[in-house]
């Protein structure tokens, strides 16, 4: 670590209409360190990064790189200053390919001509992806990729330039096992090369694993900065949420009730021969690697994709959900993993997004009763602590974690009998996560079927009564709460690959 900071952000203040997102925040970063930034949802982490990226003008404050003031009027300026950003909501062009996205804005050209050297670009893309241990086809269009794959591309994009400063806004939210390890390896390597890294995450373990220092923000204010070696988990969490929290996974032992969902020999998409049962009063976890088919399975049950064959039985009766509407009418709910693409109506208010799937409950004869609607939304907003000055705000003005809470609220409000949660806590802070776990327990307690897909393995282990593991579209095993460990899950999640004795392109 050198003596003078690589980056200084001094007295930064940013006001949104009705929200003071940053209030006199000072933050610095040294070459070769990983400076973690933590805080509750809506604390202002992303806002700080956006100011650093040149995409958002600050109201007050000063930025210095290597002691010299810099003025960032546009993202191009930040790029010029050697600042790379991994954005929380991916900033990718769905119609362009992986390689084109990675090199967007700085495409390699043939000599000084305006013609792109596609060969060089693909090679470059392959090289950065290899650093991350990924062999995504550089010619694949972004629109066809899953959230996790997009996350990888977003990371690769920031690695392809020559950045001295790299800010990563929740890069791990969609990643699991192998991808995460590769990410950390890359971070360490860059650290050695003297790059300064800002790392944002809601997974506290990660902070201690790779962080050099950690800064806590709360309600837009700087609260605390210290070396990670001098901090402990409890302390950090209490700095963040402003109170003590003892248990991370509140587990209530439940009595398994009668079968609520039964899948018989389901086929569709990449899924093959799926047999599965979900019971009342239990929380079932679905584990697997990126692209294992967990999301597809949930979508099939929910009627979002076409079922090739097989039977779906709800409460013993066969159902044929041809559309999400059918599924919802039958009592099934699905929280999708990609809140921005498949969850939220961005230009609609928070309140309207919450009630969208269950408008019947707040209307009479087709007319929505404003007060009832407000009441319902209010209740969930408080329960999930959605941070906003008003529920009339557009969802687009919310921070990432708070958006996630809105989709969660929507599905809690539908009061479905069977709830499928695909990455329910992605981007949600520890304090609220705890509340959500309580809510999930409560749902199970009330006799609902709860299925959770999560790439956060400790979360699955802490929360589920039973974990089913998928690999390449097949169920490769089932573990009870008692027998489940991270190692066993990972083994099952890669079992098909092992059996075949060679690695699939996607998994290599």
């Amino acid at each position: 670590m050198s003596s003078s900071p690589l980056l200084e952000m001094l007295h930064i203040t940013k006001q949104y209409p009705g929200v003071l997102a940053l209030d006199d925040v000072t933050f610095d970063l040294y070459a070769g360190e990983v400076h973690c930034l933590v805080g509750e949802n809506g604390a202002g982490k992303t806002t700080l990064i956006k100011i650093l990226s040149g995409a958002l003008p600050k109201d007050v404050g000063e930025l210095r790189v290597n002691g010299k003031p810099v003025f960032l009027h546009s993202p191009a300026d930040a790029f010029e200053a050697g600042i790379g950003i991994i954005h929380q909501d991916f900033k990718l062009v769905p119609e362009l390919t992986v390689a084109e996205n990675i090199f967007l804005g700085r495409e390699p050209c043939r000599g000084r001509s305006p013609f792109i050297d596609f060969e060089k670009m693909r090679e470059g893309a392959r090289a950065v992806l290899a650093q991350l241990g990924e062999s995504l086809d550089p010619r694949a269009r972004i629109g066809t990729l899953s959230v996790a794959q997009r996350q990888v591309v977003e990371i690769a994009k920031s690695l392809s330039g020559k950045n001295r400063i790299l800010a990563m806004d929740e890069p791990s939210a969609a990643l699991t096992g192998k991808e995460l390890k590769n990410l950390f390896a890359v971070i360490r390597r860059m650290q050695e090369e003297g790059v300064g890294i800002i790392y944002i995450s809601h997974r506290i373990d990660e902070i201690f694993e790779i962080g050099t220092r950690v800064t806590v923000l709360r309600d837009g204010k700087h609260v605390h900065t210290c070396k990670t070696s001098e901090a402990d988990r409890r302390g950090l969490v209490s700095w963040m949420v402003g109170r003590e929290m003892d248990q991370e996974y509140p587990k209530v032992r439940l009595q398994r009730g009668k079968e609520i969902l039964r899948l018989e020999n389901l086929n569709g998409g990449k899924l093959r021969n799926i047999h599965l049962a979900v019971y009342q009063g239990e929380i079932l976890g679905l584990a697997g690697l990126v692209g294992a088919g967990r999301t597809e399975l949930a979508r099939l049950i929910f009627g979002a994709d076409r079922l090739e064959n097989g039977r779906i039985l709800l409460d013993g009766k066969e159902i044929h959900p041809h559309s999400p509407r059918d599924a919802i009418d039958a009592g099934i709910g699905l929280l999708t993993e990609d809140r921005n693409r498949y969850g939220l109506i961005m230009e609609m208010s928070i309140e309207k997004n919450i009630t969208l799937s269950n408008l019947k409950a707040v209307s009479r004869g087709g007319f929505i009763q404003g007060e009832k609607e407000r009441g319902a939304a209010q209740q969930f907003a408080e329960e999930l602590r959605i941070k906003t000055p008003s529920l009339d705000r557009e969802v687009s003005t919310l921070s990432g974690g708070n958006r996630q809470k809105v989709v969660l609220a929507r599905w809690l409000f539908t009061r479905s009998r069977l709830l499928l949660f695909d990455e329910p806590t992605a981007g949600i802070d520890v304090g609220v996560k705890y509340e959500i776990y309580n809510l999930l327990n409560q749902l199970a307690l009330n006799g609902k079927g709860v299925v959770i897909i999560s790439s956060d393995l400790p979360e699955l282990l802490g929360l589920c009564d039973r974990i089913v593991v998928l690999c390449e579209g097949r169920i490769t095993g089932e573990l009870s709460r008692e027998e489940a460990t991270e190692e066993k899950i990972m083994l099952l999640a890669t079992s098909v690959v092992d059996m075949r004795g060679h690695r699939d392109d996607r998994e290599a």
């Binding site: 209409p17 003008p57 909501d89 979002a304 559309s323 999708t336 961005m346 309207k352 969208l356 799937s357």
Partner: protein, 327 residues
């Protein structure tokens, strides 16, 4: 396109009184300025009779614009409305030529017109939802087909010689107010209530904001689209019938280029062609703005070439004002 939180629009630091006023009224301010200006320039402008005249003139396109607002809110577009005005006009009026008393043929006339509208809207929605053809193409094709159909059916000649009493529909007055004006007001009141207070209205916004998310939230997006296009078709047909009554004839060349006027009114009124954003009040003000410009310039006997230029400028300036207020 889903824009995200970056929110460059929110440069709130320099918010002065003017922009605060603007933020309240948007393009209504432009309309107000225009009304004041015309009142000063022409003694005939701000008279009861002329105000009724303006509302009567805009009623035809404004009624369609109410339907178009729904369509545009779903990120769609309907280019067939002008042709539909003609087709419903000629088909419905030809019913009035049947040798039966008006008291019987009139309901038949209404039924025919409405049916044409329903059918056209249904057909648009069918191709859009079933074959995934973009609304622009579907309705462009229908525009061509309906217009050709109207000419073909009439052989290019108007349907005329209709019972004189028929002209009461478009030409009559109730309490001094032209019937089309009243119908327009009723349509707007109903559209406002539907969009603001009903589940269907909410679904329209949701489908336009993010169709896939709406589907996954359990909204029957295909049905919503179908209803929206049928609504637009029916309102176009209604306009076609009113227009036919005002001219006491079915003109195969009626409604030429209305689609542009109608879409302009909706977009000037603040709706986004990318869906999910817009309001029925905005559309009304948009239609008024265009209608008042034309009327005022006609009253002032401004050369028609210069009128075109001024109307273009008015639209541009009004929307610029509207955008500046959003800063």
């Amino acid at each position: 396109m889903v824009s995200s939180v970056v929110g460059v629009d929110f440069m709130t630091s320099r918010k002065n009184i003017l922009s605060r006023i603007l933020s309240q009224y948007g393009i209504s301010l432009a309309l107000l300025i225009e009304i004041i200006l015309f009142s000063r320039l022409s003694p005939f402008f701000f008279t009861t009779e002329n105000i009724l005249n303006v509302t009567l003139q805009i009623s035809i396109t404004a009624i369609i614009a109410a339907g178009m607002t729904f369509v545009i809110l779903t990120a769609g577009i309907d280019l067939s409305v002008g042709a539909l005005v003609a087709l419903s006009g000629v088909l419905a009026t030809s019913v009035l030529k049947l040798p039966i008393p008006l008291i019987y043929s009139f309901p038949l006339f209404l039924a025919t017109g409405i049916l044409v509208g329903v059918f056209s809207g249904w057909l648009s929605a069918f191709f859009i939802t079933r074959f995934n053809v973009t609304p622009f193409i579907v309705t462009l094709a229908l525009m061509s087909i309906w217009r050709g159909g109207a000419y073909l059916y009439t052989g290019g000649r108007p349907v005329w010689g209709l019972p004189h009493a028929f002209s009461m529909l478009g030409g009559g007055r109730v309490a001094g107010i032209p019937l089309p004006t009243l119908i327009m007001l009723a349509v707007y009141a109903a559209a406002y209530i539907v969009l603001q207070y009903t589940r269907f209205g909410r679904h329209v916004y949701a489908v336009g904001g993010n169709q896939e998310a709406a589907r996954l939230a359990g909204i029957n997006t295909k049905r919503v689209l179908r209803q929206v296009y049928i609504l637009c078709g029916v309102l176009s047909a209604l306009s076609g019938m009113l227009l036919a009554s005002r001219m006491n004839s079915g003109q195969p060349n009626a409604g030429l280029m209305y689609e542009l006027d109608v879409i302009a009114a909706v977009v000037v009124g603040g709706a986004s062609l990318f869906g999910g954003r817009g309001s029925i009040v905005g559309t009304f003000v948009g239609a008024m703005l265009i209608g008042v410009s034309r009327n005022g310039l006609n009253l002032l006997n401004v050369n028609s070439y210069i009128q075109q230029i001024i109307v273009g400028l008015v639209i541009l300036v009004a929307v610029m004002l509207d955008q500046m207020r959003k800063r």
